[in-house]
Amino acid sequence: MATPDIPVTGLFFAFLLLAIPIFIMHKTRLPMIKETVWSFLRMSIQLALAGVFLTVLFEYNNPLLNVLWLCVMISVAAYETVRKQELNIRKLYLPTIAAFVIATTLFLIYFETLILQGGGLSEARFLIPIGGMLLGNSLGGTIIAVSLFYNDLRRNENRYVSALSFGAQRTEALLPHFRTALKSALKPSLGNVAVMGIVFLPGLMTGQLIAGLSPMTAITYQIALMFTIYTATTVCVTIAIIFTSYISFDEFGMLHKEIFLRK
């Protein structure tokens, strides 16, 4: 089954759609026009670049190049995690990157060898999109969790201090804050999982259906990926918090104030 390309004029009509939200924003004086236009421009340029890049990547299909690209993705993901939560980048960047590397590598290998059974790790066609989905999804969760963990600790400092004074070890005293963080990180994905297939078809499935794969093939991929993503997110959040906590506390068990950029 051949998949028709969207012609340039088709893309133009897609862009034209934006006129409607802009018109409504203009009439209701909702000051979001600039942001909307800018975001969509940025997205288009990024995707165009990605298109060019992926074409090259798929053409060469060089394992080294693939892994290199994965590294770039991991670095950006870790950078975004630390930057978004206004924590000290210099201090927390390395532990966060380590968390992403471990979680992503572990579950990519698991997915390729035990689930896909023979996709080939070096195959750009698998490595890049699946690695990207694992990263993209655990990225959101990790941003929420790490930032919530430290903000919760700062806001409810007395809970932590009183746990310590009640005789808790550092880990025991941090556990309630970890629970809050992990719960918030996983809640949105659980919501998505519950309505998947009925309310919306996830991107991967849409792509495979358009590419002409049978719906059954598409859903097996999707099911396998959802399990992997959920687990990868949990693992990534857990080790990101464990790794960053080694740097964020002094030997008295007190949180370094300088890990926050703003007071």
């Binding site: 409810n156 007395n158 809970r159 201090v161 009183s162 746990a163 310590l164 004074s165 009640f166 005789g167 808790a168 070890q169 025991e172 309630p176 002094d250 030997e251 008295f252 068990g253 007190m254």
Partner: protein, 233 residues
């Protein structure tokens, strides 16, 4: 940690009855030439205070004078900018701080200690590795009665309690842990008059308990209590 053989130098005064004198020579906490700098301003300078076993000490001073910080130093939540704080003749460092936290009790007026059902909150504290062997169930009822709380409070959400109820629950947890050295930061501020004196009575009546407290409540200011003025220049 062993008590040192050095005799405590605290000026216990004439109120000490002779029969207690022999057990009361152990030094528990000593502040030595402590300074606290806050936002570039020195708020406490050359503060020295030895506290011996059985002492009842009240730190008195205006807010912002650094009293709470002094108290936090005793469990290693704050550190002096200069000078030293020692516990049982050992300077408080990263290792001793963890021991102190398991041997002494620090209660602050901030009662935000957690969330959830009171009973589970208490059970959580006694699930810590260090507390697992402490039998607390039996004494819990006694303490509730002593501080005029009904058993039904155990099934309520901690955050729905009033300030005074929360404070009493925190005090009860500390008492259940069986500690004998207490650092108390304004723990009667949220209580009503009758309860203020009951709590103060309870802490001050145990002769072998060591208590360093911050309070503006008159109930703490009584005979036998050392009053240490802080700041207020």
């Amino acid at each position: 940690m062993q008590a040192g053989d050095k005799q405590c130098e605290c000026s216990r005064g004439h109120f000490l009855r002779d029969k207690e004198a022999h057990i009361m020579e152990e030094e528990i906490i000593r502040y030595d030439n402590v300074s606290i700098v806050f936002d570039g301003k020195t708020i406490i300078e050359h503060f020295s205070l030895p506290v011996c076993k059985g002492d009842k000490v009240i730190l008195r001073g205006p807010s912002g004078s650094g009293k709470s910080t002094l108290l936090k130093m005793a469990q290693g939540y704050a550190r002096p900018d200069t000078g030293t704080v020692s516990y049982r003749m050992h300077e408080i460092d990263a290792d001793t701080a963890w021991t102190i936290r398991q041997e002494t009790a620090y209660i602050s007026q901030d009662t935000n200690i957690g969330e959830g059902i009171v009973r589970e909150l208490i059970a959580g504290v006694f699930a810590y590795a260090a507390n697992r062997t402490i039998p607390y169930q039996d004494s819990l009822g006694e303490y509730l009665t002593m501080f005029s709380l009904d058993e039904t409070i155990l099934d309520k959400d901690f955050r729905s309690l009033s300030g005074g109820e929360k404070q009493r629950i925190v005090i009860i947890i500390s008492l259940l842990l069986g500690r004998m050295i207490f650092f108390l930061d304004e723990i009667t501020a949220a209580l009503d008059g009758r309860m203020k004196s009951r709590v103060a009575d309870y802490f001050l009546s145990h002769e072998d308990w060591t208590v360093i407290a911050i309070s503006h409540d008159d109930v703490w200011y009584r005979e036998g209590v050392r009053i240490i003025p802080i700041g207020g220049k």
